[in-house]
């Protein structure tokens, strides 16, 4: 163990952690939009929309994220889509995690009492408005846990964008390994940084859950 080395690289790894967090947050934002869209589509009256949503989820979950990433970043230019590594990473991970998140959302929507839907419909609200105004807001607290689990998975999968040259935690650790030849110390430090980020996500999710629970009890 080379403690001096660890002390030296720590500030740089902390900086790289900021990029890892940035990747996670940006992908999460895209993922949530994608997931909500898929969830709405999968409860649509149009068979084509339901089918498209199911196909999307199946394909996204049925192929490796790494291959999707390479397809977008290396194959994209062939289709006239030239993205920076960061953007390619964020877009791919967002669309990928959105498929996983939509599963938890669907479950939460199904868990909302059917009477809510019937009441809203009989009051004259349209199907879309019913979903937007009554079902999704009530389903939201039920999906926090599964969204949290997916966010942790997302955070860990940001390591994959090191392969297309985004200098986040893993790539920056690799760089230090090539310059110091101390892989164990450097990768262990990077691992600790991931643990801290993941623990922080878990804490936020717990706090959110408690806050929502509290709000629900207060409302009743």
């Amino acid at each position: 163990m080379d403690i001096e080395l660890i002390r030296q690289i720590l500030p740089f790894l902390a900086q790289a952690s900021v990029l890892t967090i940035g990747l996670t947050v940006c992908s999460l934002a895209i993922g949530l939009v994608v997931a909500v869209t898929i969830t709405i589509a999968s409860f649509s009256r149009m068979r084509a929309a339901r089918w498209a949503a199911a196909a999307y989820v199946s394909i996204m979950r049925g192929t490796p994220l790494l291959v999707q990433l390479f397809l977008v970043y290396f194959g994209g230019p062939q289709m006239g889509l030239e993205l920076t590594p960061f953007l390619a990473g964020v877009v791919t991970m967002g669309f990928n995690i959105g498929a996983y998140m939509s599963e938890g959302m669907k479950g939460a929507v199904l868990a909302v009492d059917r009477g809510q839907n019937e009441a809203s419909r009989s009051l004259g609200f349209g199907r879309f408005d019913t979903m937007r105004l009554f079902i999704l807001p009530q389903a939201a607290p039920l999906m926090i846990r599964s969204l949290g689990v997916n966010t942790v998975i997302l955070c860990k999968s940001t390591a994959l964008v090191s392969t297309i040259g985004v200098v986040e935690l893993t790539y920056s650790a690799q760089r230090f390994v090539t310059s110091t030849f101390k892989p164990f110390e450097v990768f262990a430090c990077a691992g600790a940084a991931y643990l801290i980020i993941v623990a922080a996500i878990s804490l936020i999710v717990h706090a959110l859950e408690r806050a929502v629970d509290h709000g629900r009890k207060a409302a009743l």
């Binding site: 192929t63 790494l66 291959v67 194959g75 062939q78 999968s157 994959l160 164990f184 691992g191």
Partner: protein, 218 residues
């Protein structure tokens, strides 16, 4: 540059070899993840506290850090302390251990879900603690765990792609070889994605069948 899939059939051989290795890695790493997962679950539930506590810590470490980083740590870190493992086995064992952590959680929950009456009945019939676990509790827990462990195995299949970074010639690396000769990344990554999807569907089909059978036995 437009798309031209006509070059893909020329490289069918190398892609086919890649998919075979991907399946082999999935089977090997999947086997490790299940066996080690069961061992961890049993040790943390029934083992001495001195063993259970550190094991939980290890599981936490495995679940809280990215697979890619763990692979780098094993591959480069072990060579630092003089242990030189071939890339293939580093990848297979690393992948297996990563998912062993996830499986251990599932097995632990399944073991705890087995009706305590089963163990009590077996013990009062004179079976030892280990025989009770082996013949009665574990088999029942395995049936409960099957769907979720199957799910993890499907996720593991997709994560075999990450092993390409260690230079293991599975599907992604072989696709990259074809790309380096043809400069057609989209075509080959797309083909690779389709092949993964097919293997994925086949695996889902087999697991559904197995799950139905397990349900029938229960």
């Amino acid at each position: 540059m437009s798309l031209d899939f006509s070059v893909v059939p020329d490289y069918f051989g190398i892609l086919w070899t890649g998919i075979l290795w991907t399946v082999l890695i999935t089977v090997l790493a999947g086997g490790i993840s299940i066996l080690v997962g069961i061992a961890i679950a049993v040790a943390t539930l029934y083992g001495p506290r001195l063993l259970a506590f550190p094991l939980r810590g290890v599981v936490f470490l495995f679940m809280g850090t990215p697979l890619l980083l763990q692979l780098y740590l094993f591959y480069y870190g072990l060579s630092q302390i003089g242990i030189m493992l071939p890339a293939f086995w580093t990848g297979v064992v690393g992948l297996g251990l990563h998912y062993a952590a996830y499986n251990a959680d599932i097995f632990r929950a399944s073991l705890q879900a087995v009706d305590p009456g089963q163990a009590e009945a077996s013990r009062s019939l004179g079976f030892s603690r280990s025989a009770t676990l082996r013949f009665f509790v574990l088999p029942q827990a395995m049936l409960t765990a099957l769907p979720q462990v199957g799910n993890n195995s499907i996720i593991l299949l997709k994560d075999t792609a990450v092993l390409s970074v260690l230079g293991i010639a599975e599907l992604v690396l072989n696709a990259q070889r074809a790309i380096s000769e043809t400069y057609r990344p989209f075509e080959f990554y797309f083909t690779a994605a389709i092949l993964y999807y097919i293997v994925n569907l086949a695996m889902e089909f087999l697991l559904r069948k197995a799950a139905r059978k397990a349900e029938a036995i229960r």
